[in-house]
């Protein structure tokens, strides 16, 4: 359990490559792994480390996020002392720069009693013992600790993520960059930063005085580059995926079908929490064929489901085939429809005999049905 730390979720994540899933929501509230949302993983990591003060700073498109997180009860964050604080902006005020979002809510930072902050994004899917990162941070004596993962497949898995250069002997950060997909090997920044709250406040003010229309990440590294702060690197050795594009989203879901990944993510001492929906159990009707699939409660399976991730309240009718697909919540796949490598967003009905086919690298996305 770690004391004196609060967590701040900075949800100014780049949505350019995952647009079709984020027209109605932020990346943080994109459904994933059949019954979770992206933010559940990092939020659970924070809670499982014993942090009880969590601020979530979101961009404007936050209806779905607010609906999901609510008062934070599923994460045990509905509290009188500390708990969950959700900050978001109305449609009128289009703010895309996290520095400004943070600055607008300085009062929260001042009021919180914690001396230290873990600043994090939501889209790195992992199950991490954050108390280990805190230990490493405090032992390092550095102003800031950055959590990173060493990837041997960075050109595919972590495109467009920030990278850092690390001195392997001292674990000090020596530089930064961006993964444009040229290198297989990279130290990918997981966008988790540990620092004193006072330092964060200083950085925000300093940045606001210069120019608020830029990312906090740039501001932090400006400070680092001009030698004002020291930066330690903490390597996380577990499974990580970054949900910043449709193909990364597809791969991450498919990863959940691997026993070693799902065991690490879901069956450790640190459970992943999410909102309860009170769905009935799932029923498998005579004649169904299911293999290598992750299926949420509330489904009725009469057809064939193979290598797929199925969300809550999905009905697969007789003769329908769902293969290599990601099916989100509340979807009907009617009789004899055939779906291969398709991502189907919420509330959609796929009519009888429809055939839809994407491919492994370019899955077809059927967007969420708007209830208008």
């Amino acid at each position: 359990m770690i004391k004196d730390y609060m967590a701040i979720f900075n949800l100014a994540e780049n949505e350019t490559d995952i647009r079709s899933l984020t027209t109605n929501r932020s990346i943080a509230s994109v459904p994933i792994a059949s019954r979770f949302r992206v933010v559940d993983f990092m939020l659970s990591n924070v809670v499982n480390a014993g942090i009880t003060n969590v601020g979530v700073f979101s961009k404007s498109n936050s209806r779905s996020l607010v609906d999901h997180i609510g008062d934070g009860k599923p994460w045990d964050l509905s509290r009188k002392n500390d708990g969950l604080f959700l900050f978001n902006h109305g449609i009128m005020e289009m703010i895309n720069y996290d520095s400004k979002i943070l600055k607008n809510n300085m009062e929260y930072l001042y009021r919180s009693k914690s001396e230290n902050v873990i600043l994090t994004s939501s889209y790195m899917i992992c199950n991490m013992d954050l108390s280990e990162a805190v230990k490493a941070h405090e032992a390092s004596g550095c102003d800031v600790t950055v959590v990173y993962t060493e990837s041997n497949n960075a050109h595919v898995d972590f495109q467009n993520c920030y990278t850092i250069c690390v001195d392997e002997e001292t674990n000090r950060v020596t530089g930064r960059g961006k993964n444009l997909g040229f290198d297989e090997k990279a130290n990918v920044c997981m966008e988790i930063f540990l620092m004193k709250k006072s330092l964060l406040i200083n950085l925000i003010y300093k940045n606001a005085r210069v120019q608020s229309a830029r990312s906090f990440y740039s501001a932090l590294f400006d400070e680092f580059n001009n030698g004002s702060i020291t930066m330690n690197a903490y390597k996380f050795g577990g499974y990580v995926s970054c949900i910043n594009s449709i193909s990364a989203y597809y791969r991450a879901n498919m990863d959940m079908l691997k026993m070693e990944v799902s065991t690490e993510l879901f069956r450790s001492q640190r459970p992943v929490y999410t909102k309860i929906k009170d769905e009935p159990p799932t029923i498998y009707v005579k004649g169904c064929q299911v293999s290598n699939s992750l299926i949420a409660d509330g489904c009725i399976i009469k057809g064939t489901v193979k290598n797929s991730v199925i969300g809550r309240f999905v009905e697969v009718e007789e003769g329908a085939v769902v293969e290599n697909c990601i099916i989100l919540q509340n979807i009907k796949i009617k009789a004899n429809a055939k779906l291969h490598n398709v991502i189907v967003d919420k509330n959609v009905t796929i009519s009888e005999n429809t055939e839809l086919r994407g491919n492994e690298n370019f899955p077809l996305v059927i967007e969420k049905k708007n209830l208008l």
Binding site: I276, I283, C288, S293, I295, A296
Partner: protein, 382 residues
């Protein structure tokens, strides 16, 4: 305190000895049912869906599991500013204290709880029945018919009628005679143990009943007959739909098996009348490459690599490769290892059935107690 139109009292003190060993560590209403529920979830969800926001739960026998399941009632939306759920065990007072001597006595001892809401009507329920019912319809019937008490009834087959309290009614469904478990039933309208009383009327009878040293202090045996004898207006409310009192291991098994169709009579998959429960968050169920599943109900957290037919798996069960589960109920957290055959069995919570085992002969229902480690040649089958 805000006045309530109707409050509910759920009788949840039942020992359920015929359900042993399921009731070895918990009372019957806390017994798991239907993949992810406990029996009391049906009555509680019915209350919640019927708009009843004040519920007292009368407990007596081994209440710990029930207490932790109910908590402050949030899964059923019963954590309320006014009202909500209250656990009501027997208690001591200046005049001493007593165990609940019967169903009526349990409510009698909590009249002060009821009084504080000054309810117009009171709904008396049993915590161990499986059914979905809109109590608002029953209340309308109670009000429209000008009844003092309304008793939910259902048609049962004549040969089973002598197991129930039987209502003999006139052509307006006013009860003219009540017989508890009659040898020669005159009708097939059985009481379901669900009553709505006009509260002040019930209060009078409960107080009178408590003064009678020869009473059984029971709704069916004493209160209803006393009201009938005094010509109070008792009305039958006919319920059509699924209702089951899971009293024995075999009726428990059957009631679970009744769920194994999409349009089952319980309407388990009808989400317009949701069932709520308190359940730990787990990942979705994983169905392995070689798994074969037929006509079964499976819930979150399960990992199935083997074969499951006509069975119910509760959260977090593991069925290893080459294992076969047939006509069985496997409860939360139980692990079935490689090469095991489970046939017509109920395996309770957190067991490990070791590899190369055979449980159940397909005739009698085999029951394995909670937390057992079942080696081959295990002798603890109930």
């Amino acid at each position: 305190m805000a006045k309530k139109n109707m409050i509910a009292m759920i009788l949840a003190g039942g020992q359920g000895s015929r359900l042993s060993p399921m009731t070895k560590v918990m009372c019957k209403p806390a017994v798991s049912f239907g993949g992810k529920y406990r029996i009391i979830d049906f009555a509680l969800s019915n209350c919640s869906n019927s708009g009843i926001d004040t519920v007292g739960i009368l407990t007596q026998f081994k209440p710990q599991a029930l207490n932790s399941h109910i908590g402050i009632g949030s899964p059923w939306d019963l954590d309320r500013v006014h009202g909500g759920v209250a656990m009501l065990p027997p208690y001591m007072s200046e005049q001493g204290g007593d165990w609940y001597k019967g169903t009526a006595n349990a409510v009698y001892q909590n009249l002060s709880f009821c009084d504080q809401y000054d309810p117009k009507y009171i709904l008396i329920l049993s915590g161990d029945h499986i059914y979905k019912m809109d109590y608002r319809k029953m209340l309308s019937r109670h009000i429209d018919s000008g009844a003092d008490a309304t008793i939910a009834v259902m048609q049962v087959p004549l040969e089973e009628a002598s197991r129930f309290g039987i209502m003999n009614t006139d052509d307006e469904d006013v009860v003219v005679e009540f017989e508890e478990k009659p040898k020669h039933p005159k009708s097939t309208l059985a009481s379901m143990g669900i009553y709505i009383f006009t509260y002040q009327k019930l209060r009078e009878y409960l107080v009178k009943d408590a003064e009678d040293p020869n009473s059984n202090y029971d709704f069916g045996k004493n209160i209803i007959p006393a009201m009938l004898a005094n010509n109070e207006r008792l009305v039958a409310y006919r319920f059509e739909g699924y209702w089951k009192d899971v009293g024995t291991i075999s009726s428990y098994w059957e009631a679970n098996m009744d769920l194994l169709s999409v349009d089952n009579e319980v309407k388990l998959f009808d989400t317009s009348w949701k069932l709520y429960t308190d359940v730990a968050v787990r990942p979705s169920q994983y169905i392995g490459c070689e798994a074969k599943i037929e006509n079964s109900i499976i819930t979150e957290g399960c990992v199935v690599e083997g074969e499951v037919t006509n069975s119910i798996l509760f959260p977090g069960c593991v069925v290893a490769k080459n294992a076969r589960i047939v006509d069985s109920i496997i409860m939360e957290g139980t692990v079935i290892e490689d090469n095991v055959i489970v046939n017509k069995s109920i395996i309770l919570e957190n067991c490990v059935v070791k590899a190369n085992n055979v449980i159940g002969n397909g005739d009698d229902i085999a029951v394995i107690e909670a937390n057992s480690v079942v080696e081959p040649n295990y002798s603890g089958v109930n």
